[in-house]
């Protein structure tokens, strides 16, 4: 219903990867549990975060092939902290208009 901005996508992906190192398909599944995004949304986001130095990757063998895992860097953690602050502020602003009771 509400569009997810690219900053919000970055923040959510960083949050998921900050919990544990994980792989692309799993991140997509986790994201889709919370918001409606298309399956093709995530690769560009992961690639961007990787290029910015927020995420790192490593390959791990899994059932006779390699699985690419994403892990959060120190920079990524710093970005996530900032995103959390910005999001709380954003939410407060929207709520100040939306909430039923008057101030």
């Amino acid at each position: 219903m509400f569009p997810i901005s690219s900053a919000l996508l970055d923040a959510m992906v960083l949050a998921i990867v900050s919990h544990e190192d994980t792989y692309g398909y799993k991140i997509t599944q986790d994201m889709q549990e919370a918001v409606t995004i298309s399956e093709s949304t995530l690769y560009p986001v992961l690639r961007r975060l990787q290029k910015n130095g927020a995420l790192d990757t490593f390959d791990q063998p899994y059932m006779g092939r390699n699985r690419r895992y994403y892990t959060i860097t120190a920079l990524g953690r710093a970005m996530l902290t900032q995103y959390r602050i910005d999001w709380a502020e954003h939410k407060e602003h929207i709520d100040s208009i939306l909430k039923e009771e008057l101030k």
Binding site: Y23, G24, Y25, K26, T28, S38, E39, S40, T41, Y43, P44, V45, L46, R47, R48, K51, R65, N66, R67, R68
Partner: protein
């Protein structure tokens, strides 16, 4: 559409990307189909949409990142080059500049003093008027105490009139002296910046 078809078409659509970018994206989507499971390939391909639209998103993102990198590099260049030019001081030029300042001192020193005196004279007008207004006001108050009400009213009125006039000319006078001060500063700045070139 099968996974193989999807991946083939995707690779075709990504041909304009650098090889590294293309290979990275292909590896991601190959893995994506593996994770979905062989029996769910068609479903996964359907939920991804057309290979063309998937490719478009990848290309858009990659080009955005590219232009951002170029922009950042430019910024860094600017940041680096700015202080370098300012720090370049040629000692020979400095000596010449000092000599020039000393030799030409009869001209610029006189001009400088004239400008300063001019500023001072202009600034004196509102200050002296303000002081005289105060003096006349004091005289008026003394006259009230001594019972000379006629003179008192005249003096207090003149004091108010002078004070009003001072308030009127205060702003323009200080603006004028401010402009003169600014131009003196500018003159010295340009004179001293020249030696850096």
């Amino acid at each position: 559409m099968s996974a193989r078809e999807f991946l083939e078409q995707l690779e075709g659509c990504l041909s304009r990307l650098p090889a590294e970018e293309r290979e990275n994206a292909m590896a991601y989507y190959r893995e994506y189909f593996m994770e979905a499971g062989e029996d769910k390939e068609d479903e996964a391909a359907a939920s991804l949409g057309s290979p063309q639209s998937v490719a478009e998103r990848i290309i858009n993102e990659s080009e955005e990142a590219l232009s951002e990198v170029v922009y950042r590099e430019h910024e860094e260049e600017n940041v680096q080059s700015a202080p370098v030019t300012e720090e370049k001081i040629d000692p020979a030029h400095t000596v010449l500049m000092i000599l020039l300042i000393i030799i030409s001192s009869p001209i610029w020193l006189a001009a400088f003093i004239v400008i300063i005196a001019f500023c001072f004279a202009i600034a004196c007008v509102p200050v002296s008027l303000g002081v005289s207004s105060l003096a006349v006001l004091v005289q008026g108050i003394v006259e009230i105490c001594t019972g000379e009400f006629g003179y008192a009213i005249m003096d207090i009125g003149s004091a108010a009139a002078i004070a009003g006039f001072v308030m009127l000319i205060w702003q323009p006078v200080f603006k004028l002296t401010g402009i003169l001060e600014g131009s003196i500063k500018k003159f010295f700045k340009t004179a001293f910046n020249r030696r850096n070139k």
